[in-house]
C-alpha cells in the first residue's frame, strides 16, 4: 500500500484536494520560519490561533464582534499574573489564564448577546474598552501602562523551551495550532456546528425549528473567547511581556481583518490570513512611518472588492467547497443585511 493510500485511509478528508492541502500545509509551515524569519513565523502562529477562534463566531455564527481583544489580552495578562501570584509553572499558568478568560467571555457574551447585529458589535466594543480601562488603571495588579514581564525564565517541556522563543516556541506553537485547527474542525462538523450555521442562515427560522439560538451563539462566543485567550497566553510566552495595548480595540480590528483577509466561514482561511497579515506587518513598518494608511487601504479594498478573502478566492478558482457545500463567497451571501 502506498503512503498516500495509508494516509487517505486514516484521514476523514478524502480525495486529492484534501491530500494536496495537507501537503501544502506541511511544506508551508516547515519553510515559514526560514523564509520569513522566526519572529514573523511565531507571530503568525499566535495570530492564526486567534483568528481561528474568532472565525467560529464570525464565519460560522455570523455575528461580528469588535471586542475580542479583551479575551486576547486577558489570556495574556492572565498567564503573566497567574505565573506571578499563583503557580510558578508556565503551563499551569496558561491553563489557568485560559480558564479565566473563558469565564469572562461567558459573562461578556451573555451581556452582548442580548442584542444582535450592529448593537452586538458596539456592545462588544464597549465591553472590551471597559476591560482595557480596568487593566490600564489597575496598576498594582497589571503594572498599568508599564505592562508586566513574565516572571519566569525557562519552561522546558519535552526537550524544548517555548520561553526561549525562536524555533522552540515555533514547535510548541505549531502543536497548539494543530490542536486548535483539529478542535475547530471537530466543532464545525458536529451537530452543534450545523445548528450554528443554521442560525447564521436565519435566526428566525432556526428558532422556529426549535433551536435555542441564544445558547448556540453563546457557546460559539465562549469557544471563540477560549481560543482567543489561548492565543493571548501564547503571546505572553512568546514576548515574555504584556502591555495594556493588547486589549485596545485596534487588536480587535486586526483579528477581523485577518479573518476577512483569509476567508470567513472557512476552516483554513484564518490561517492564510494570519500568514499574509503577519508577513505584511513585519515588513511594512520598514517601508514607511505611515504604515497604518496602507493597512487601512488594504482593509477597504478587500472589503469592497474581495470580501471572500484569499482563501475564498482560491476556493472559487478551484470550485472547492467544504462538507456543507459552503465556501467563503456563499457564506458572505448568507449574512444578510440588517442583522437578524
Amino acid at each position: 500500500m502506498s503512503a498516500v493510500d495509508a494516509v487517505r485511509k486514516r484521514l476523514p478528508v478524502v480525495g486529492t484536494a484534501g491530500i494536496a492541502k495537507f501537503g501544502l500545509a506541511v511544506v508551508g509551515f516547515a519553510l515559514l520560519p526560514f523564509i520569513f524569519g522566526t519572529t514573523t513565523a511565531n507571530d503568525v502562529i499566535v495570530l492564526a490561533i486567534f483568528a481561528l477562534g474568532y472565525n467560529l463566531l464570525l464565519g460560522y455564527g455570523g455575528e461580528l464582534s469588535f471586542g475580542h481583544a479583551a479575551f486576547y489580552g486577558i489570556g495574556a495578562y492572565g498567564t503573566v499574573i497567574f505565573a506571578e501570584i499563583a503557580v510558578a509553572n508556565l503551563y499551569l499558568a496558561m491553563i489557568a489564564a485560559v480558564v479565566f478568560t473563558t469565564i469572562i467571555s461567558l459573562v461578556f457574551g451573555f451581556v452582548s448577546l442580548r442584542r444582535r447585529g450592529i448593537y452586538f458589535a458596539m456592545i462588544t466594543l464597549a465591553l472590551a474598552q471597559m476591560a482595557y480601562y480596568v487593566v490600564f488603571q489597575w496598576n498594582d495588579l497589571t503594572g498599568g501602562q508599564n505592562g508586566k514581564a513574565i516572571p519566569l525564565f525557562e519552561a522546558p517541556v519535552a526537550g524544548i523551551d517555548p520561553l526561549a522563543a525562536g524555533l522552540d516556541f515555533y514547535l510548541f506553537g505549531l502543536l497548539m495550532l494543530a490542536l486548535t485547527w483539529l478542535g475547530v474542525r471537530r466543532v464545525i462538523q458536529s451537530p452543534f456546528g450545523k445548528a450554528l450555521m443554521a442560525v447564521r442562515e436565519s435566526e428566525e427560522r432556526a428558532r422556529h425549528l426549535g433551536y435555542d439560538v441564544n445558547r448556540l451563539l453563546l457557546l460559539a462566543f465562549v469557544l471563540s473567547g477560549l481560543l482567543s485567550g489561548l492565543a493571548g497566553a501564547l503571546h505572553a510566552v512568546l514576548f515574555a511581556f504584556v502591555g495594556p495595548n493588547l486589549l485596545f480595540w485596534t487588536i480587535s480590528g486586526e483579528v477581523v481583518l485577518i479573518a476577512i483577509l483569509g476567508g470567513i466561514g472557512t476552516l483554513s482561511g484564518p490561517i492564510i490570513g494570519a500568514i499574509i497579515f503577519g508577513v505584511l506587518s513585519h515588513n511594512l513598518t520598514q517601508v514607511t512611518e505611515n504604515w497604518p494608511i496602507i493597512f487601512g487601504v488594504i482593509f477597504v479594498l478587500i472589503v469592497m472588492f474581495a470580501p471572500e478573502g484569499v482563501y475564498g478566492i482560491t476556493q472559487k478558482y478551484f470550485e472547492d467547497r467544504d462538507g456543507n457545500g459552503f465556501d467563503a463567497r456563499s457564506v458572505l451571501q448568507r449574512l444578510r443585511p440588517g442583522g437578524k
Binding site: 494516509v7 486514516r10 500545509a25 506541511v26 511544506v27 509551515f29 516547515a30 519553510l31 520560519p33 526560514f34 520569513f36 524569519g37 522566526t38 519572529t39 514573523t40 507571530d43 480601562y133 490600564f136 488603571q137 496598576n139 498599568g144 501602562q145 508599564n146 505592562g147 514581564a149 519535552a158 526537550g159 524544548i160 526561549a164 522563543a165 525562536g166 524555533l167 522552540d168 515555533y170 514547535l171 505549531l174 502543536l175 494543530a178 490542536l179 483539529l182 514576548f239 515574555a240 511581556f241 504584556v242 502591555g243 495595548n245 493588547l246 485596545f248 485596534t250 487588536i251 486586526e254 506587518s281 513585519h282 515588513n283 513598518t285 520598514q286 512611518e289 504604515w291 497604518p292 493597512f295
Partner: protein
C-alpha cells in the same frame, strides 16, 4: 518620564536566533503534527548552520550598539532628536577614542513609544547582534526593555522618570541617565519659597509614578518648605474631562494647584484649569512638561505669569562648559536644539563606550562594576554627576523653568522655550537615600 498610551501592529524583522539545535522526542501522536514535526526537525539542523554563520558581535574589535527609540507614533519627533544625539555620540566617541581603537556601530529600531513594541524592537536588536543597548523615551519602555536586557544579559542605558526603574524594579544591568520623579520634585519648594503661599492642592494621575511623587511632596518637600498639602485628588489615567477635578481644586481655594500629571492628560488638565480660571486665584504648576506638552498647552497658557511648567532634566542653554560645547556641536550638525533626554543619551552612550574601553569587553558584569560610581562623560551638568552605585540613577539636578519672555510659536517649534529659574546645587540632596529607593540588586 511616563507618557500616554499607544497602539500599533507588529514591527521589524529578524533573520536568525541565537538558539542552538534542539531535538524533538516522540509523544506526538497526531499524524499530521508528526509529519510537520519531522519536516521541522529536518529544518532545524539547517537552522543550526545559519546560527553559526550569523552570530552576534561582542568582544574583539567591534562594538554594536542597539538603540531602541520611538521612530513612529506620538513621540516620533523626540525619537528623531535622540537618533541625532546617539549618532553624534558615536562620532565623537570615535574621534576621541572613547572605546579605544574598537569599531563602533549603531543599529536603531522603532519602539513606537510602547512597552510591548519597544520590547520587541529590542529583541530584534539583540537578535541582530547588539552588544549593549542604549536609548528610549518613556519609563514604561525603559522598564520593559530593562527586564529583557537583564534576561538576555546586556547592559542597557536609558532614561525615565519612574521611581521604579531605580527602585522596586531596579536591575543590575540597567543604568538610568535621566532624572527620577523624586529628583523632579523641585518645583514646589521653589514656588513656596519664591512666590509665597502655604496651601497646596495636588492633582495626580492614578498610578505609581504620580502616586509616589504626590506622597513625596505631601510628606517631605512641601512641609519642609513651610507649606501644607490641603487636598489631593487622584485622576484616572486617560481622563478626558477634567472639569470635575479642576472644579474640586478650585473649591479648595489653595494658593498652589499642582499637577502631578504628564503627557496628554496634563495638557487637558491644564487647559481646562485655565478654562475655569484657576490661575486667577492660584498659581498653577506641573511637575514636568515635555516640549510636546508645551506645544499642546499653547502660548497663552505658557506665557501666563501664574503658570509654571515644572522642571526639566536639562536644557540646551545650560551654563556648564561641556553642555555649551555639546549644544553648539548639535546645533551645527542638525540645525535644531537638543532635547533634555538627548543630552542624557549622548552622555550615557559615551560613558558606556568609555566603560567598554576601560574594561576591554562588553561583558555585562564587568561593565556593571565599572559603571557603578562612574562619573558621566562628558559632564553636561557640570556637577560631577555619576551613576549612583546603589540604584544606578544619575545624580543630576532638575532645572526649574518658566516660559521665556515674548514666547512665540517659532520658539515652541524649535524647542527654544524656557528661562532657567533655578536649580539645586547639590543634586544628591534631592535624591532618595539608597534605603528609600527600595532597590535590591543582588
Amino acid at each position: 518620564m511616563p507618557d500616554g498610551n499607544n497602539h500599533g501592529t507588529n514591527n521589524g524583522s529578524a533573520d536568525s536566533t541565537r538558539k542552538g539545535t534542539t531535538s524533538l522526542r516522540e509523544g506526538v501522536t497526531d499524524r499530521r503534527s508528526l509529519l510537520q514535526a519531522a519536516s521541522v526537525v529536518g529544518g532545524l539542523s539547517l537552522a543550526g548552520c545559519i546560527n553559526n554563520l550569523g552570530g552576534g558581535g561582542g568582544g574583539g574589535n567591534s562594538i554594536k550598539i542597539g538603540s531602541p527609540l520611538p521612530r513612529s507614533g506620538p513621540f516620533a519627533s523626540y525619537g528623531r532628536n535622540f537618533v541625532n544625539a546617539i549618532n553624534l555620540a558615536v562620532t565623537h566617541a570615535r574621534e576621541e577614542g572613547d572605546a579605544g581603537d574598537r569599531e563602533i556601530e549603531v543599529e536603531f529600531a522603532d519602539t513606537e513609544g510602547d512597552p510591548d513594541r519597544g520590547r520587541q524592537a529590542a529583541q530584534e536588536l539583540i537578535n541582530n547582534g547588539a552588544d549593549v543597548l542604549s536609548g528610549n523615551y518613556s519609563s514604561a519602555v525603559a522598564l520593559s526593555i530593562g527586564e529583557l536586557a537583564q534576561r538576555r544579559g546586556l547592559i542597557y542605558q536609558c532614561v525615565g522618570g519612574s521611581n521604579a526603574i531605580t527602585g522596586s524594579d531596579c536591575r543590575p544591568y540597567v543604568f538610568n541617565t535621566g532624572n527620577s520623579a523624586v529628583q523632579q520634585s523641585v518645583t514646589m519648594p521653589y514656588l513656596l519659597n519664591e512666590r509665597g503661599g502655604e496651601s497646596v492642592f495636588i492633582l495626580y494621575s492614578d498610578y505609581a509614578w504620580a502616586q509616589s511623587y504626590m506622597q513625596w511632596n505631601r510628606d517631605n518637600t512641601v512641609p519642609n518648605n513651610g507649606g501644607e498639602v490641603v487636598g489631593t485628588q487622584a485622576v484616572p489615567l486617560g481622563t478626558n474631562d477634567w472639569s470635575q477635578p479642576v472644579t474640586n481644586a478650585r473649591e479648595s481655594g489653595a494658593d498652589h494647584i499642582h499637577f502631578a500629571v504628564t503627557g496628554t492628560d496634563l495638557v487637558r488638565g491644564v487647559n481646562q484649569a485655565f478654562e475655569f480660571g484657576l490661575q486667577e486665584e492660584s498659581i498653577v504648576s506641573a511637575a514636568a512638561a515635555t516640549l510636546s506638552d508645551v506645544k499642546a498647552i499653547g502660548i497663552d497658557i505658557m506665557s501666563n505669569e501664574n503658570f509654571y511648567p515644572g522642571g526639566t532634566s536639562w536644557y540646551w542653554e545650560h551654563s556648564a562648559p561641556a553642555a555649551q560645547e555639546f549644544s553648539a556641536a548639535y546645533r551645527d550638525e542638525y540645525d535644531t536644539v537638543p532635547l533634555n533626554f538627548s543630552a542624557s543619551h549622548y552622555a550615557g552612550t559615551r560613558t558606556l563606550l568609555r566603560a567598554i574601553g576601560e574594561v576591554g569587553s562588553t561583558d555585562p558584569d564587568d561593565l556593571r562594576s565599572e559603571l557603578e560610581g562612574k562619573e558621566l562623560y562628558p559632564q553636561l551638568w557640570g556637577v560631577g554627576e555619576k551613576y549612583r552605585e546603589c540604584d544606578h540613577r544619575t545624580s543630576i539636578a532638575t532645572m526649574i523653568v518658566q516660559a521665556k519672555q515674548g514666547l512665540s510659536q517659532q520658539n515652541i517649534d524649535n524647542g527654544d522655550v524656557y528661562t532657567i529659574l533655578d536649580y539645586p546645587e547639590d543634586p544628591e540632596s534631592v535624591m532618595r537615600t539608597c534605603e528609600e529607593t527600595g532597590c535590591q540588586m543582588d
